[in-house]
Assembly symmetry: none
């Protein structure tokens, strides 16, 4: 009935906000993102308000809407950056030439746990946000799909080379083992932070992963040397990385 509602509906379909042109604008926008990330990490998605974000960034309330459409949008962008970072961390040290399959898998798992650990609070916020906003759920879904596609391909390749059990369905395996790794990270790093041991979790995860697809997991301490360089940041509050 109201025209205000009608107006909003009309403008919802309008163009996205253009990026800032001046350095000052870029600074403000960055400050808002920084402030947003801090708050989302501290209070989660739901309990962070646009007001808090603006206040902490020391700009007027309205300024927020100069740069972002909504709380969802800024969160989505922060998450996007996070995933960039995620990929960077996970790929920053390519496996040694001729590394065994199980080594590669271990490296990937440890990389995932490491990155998760470094961004635990934000991942927790995402886990929440994805249940509250369809848009953000979609972002997470899309990311997951990318991950699964890549893993499906890898498993299929290994299978062709005879390294992986031929009974395995690569698509299901990628999906199910993806769930395993991701959920283990969430549970052990976010929910049970106090008892988390990155190295051990990584090892156990990898053993189960390799067994599951029929790869022999040979492991001794020496062979792990090449994995020690992962710790890039101080672990977040409540998420210790023991034995790293």
């Amino acid at each position: 009935m109201s025209n205000q509602t009608e107006r909003r509906a009309r403008q919802a379909a309008s163009q996205p906000i253009a990026p800032p042109v001046t350095a000052r604008g870029a600074r403000t926008r960055a400050a808002l993102k920084r402030s947003g990330r801090n708050l989302f990490e501290k209070h989660g998605f739901q309990d962070t308000s646009v007001n808090q974000i603006s206040t902490r960034a020391r700009v007027a309330h309205g300024t927020f809407y100069t740069y972002f459409d909504s709380k969802e949008q800024i969160f989505g962008e922060i998450i996007h950056d996070l995933f960039m970072e995620f990929n960077r961390v996970m790929t920053e040290q390519p496996p040694a030439e001729g590394a065994s399959l199980s080594h590669r898998i271990e490296r990937a798992n440890r990389g995932y746990l490491t990155a998760y650990c470094d961004n635990a609070r934000l991942m927790a916020a995402l886990e929440q946000a994805a249940t509250l906003s369809t848009g953000l759920a979609e972002i997470r879904r899309a990311t997951r799909v990318g991950w699964i596609v890549r893993n499906t391909a890898a498993i299929a390749r290994w299978q062709e080379r005879g390294d992986v059990d031929e009974h395995i369905d690569p698509r299901y395996a990628a999906e199910i083992l993806g769930c395993m790794v991701d959920r283990t990270a969430y549970v052990s790093i976010v929910l049970e932070a106090s008892s988390f041991d990155l190295e051990e979790t990584s090892r156990q995860l990898t053993r189960l992963y390799c067994n599951a697809i029929g790869i022999t997991y040979f492991r001794d301490v020496t062979s792990m040397r090449d994995g020690l360089a992962y710790a890039t940041k101080p672990p977040q509050r409540g998420a210790s990385r023991r034995a790293t």
Copy 2:
């Protein structure tokens, strides 16, 4: 739990509400729970209001607080009932005497997926609620712990009998494989309902599970006969149980 909610909860903290004395009271309480469950299933935790629950139960808004302390509490109770139901479904048909290990595991997995499927919407609501309220997160955690303890014990037992790879750490395996099964259920039943195939997912999950702990997974169609009795309810909206 939102800041606001937490604050209020702290302020109240009075004695818990006594159970109803009269039959009428019991009826009212039950109506509220039924109504609550319906709404939580339809709209999730966050988007269901106490008002809606009361209205649907055809009682005055204030009456809600005669029987429940808060939205969290009624939700917690509904979830508690759900887990009772979950256990009932999962154990309703004990495995045949002398069934092989992989059969037992398959049965357990199919049971879990079946129960999940029957309660998909509520499980989704729980997934959301657990990110919003520490109290509800705790309920979920406790349930998970129980599950893991049992599985840890089972794996250890099997290991002692020499059925399971001795390199496996039962505690980690239980936790990690629990994550795998639970998360796969969530992802495939809640998030990707349209393409869910209970029988196939169950099989794939079991194969990976068995491989992971070093059990031979022998599977043919005949051996599945004992699994057919699971479907107890019509599947919930959007969660088809293909090939069941």
Copy 3:
């Protein structure tokens, strides 16, 4: 994207708010309507806020929404009451038996101007609101349609009796002359309140009206005696009823 928006959309289609049950509720609701009417009269539709309405009615902001869905809705209801009142005033004294056509028309016109005069500020608010909200525009349209239907019928009847020019198209005449009366009321009472003379305007309006449809307009002061009882309220600020 946001779930809040989705939620709102979902609830927009929900049931209307039930009327109050208790006397206290009825009192509060009435207070809100009174307060709303006062403010709409004083500041118009646009410049009256729900906050002001609640404050003036001495209830909490939220209480407003216990009884009304929105500013539009309460305004719509106030306008509905106004039209009831309008009809009451216009029909409160039936024309004398055997009064001539022109007398009846004069009486109707004076009645309209009188009622308009008594509710000038609210009519002005409606004029504004109808340009701002499709819903309220529709209310006005519906009212106008009713009015025109009745007048079309009357003119057609008169035409059949040979009292009205046969070249006149009753539908157009009703519509156009309705515009004439209504707009004259708005312009002279709302926009040019200071120079408004009810009696004279009424007379002039009626003469043109009668001429337009071909009725002889015979008029002298004596014949007007039966119209003097109209003034029911003190005229509103700025809307003098001279010579009444």
Copy 4:
């Protein structure tokens, strides 16, 4: 004019903005006006924002205030231009020498409807704006006064020549019949655009008009030939000019 707007306007009240000096300035100003007109037509006064106007004109937001004091001011100027255009259309073809009075009236009415039709959306915006801003209401009032003065004079002249009923008060007649024509245009072209028939409305309007002031309205198809040239633009959305 909204309270907020009025307050600000009072605060500013600085000297009016000088007209642009350079050709570039003139171009920018014109672009803003064009853009404004488009948007006001599309969304009305209230729902058009200064931001939109600037954006559409491809200038920075701040630039708007280089050329205009406020949204009201630019709208006022656009309306001023509109009235110029209105007068141009209405007088573009002077009546044939010796045309009858009713022909002249018909021509004027058709001219008004034609011009209204060509600018329907802007007239609707004005109708809205006049209820929101005292300044714009004043503009409309002034225009109306001019119109009435001319018509009063014309009617008085006709009366002196004995063409018009001597009982008519020229001032009132001009005002009231002006209301009739103007409101009929608004209602039938803006509010009921879909069923608008310019030719028929024009005829009906004229018949009532002539009757009202006591002029014989003689009308046949031939006599209408001189009115056919009015259609100057494609009719605006929703305002069909049937039978033209």
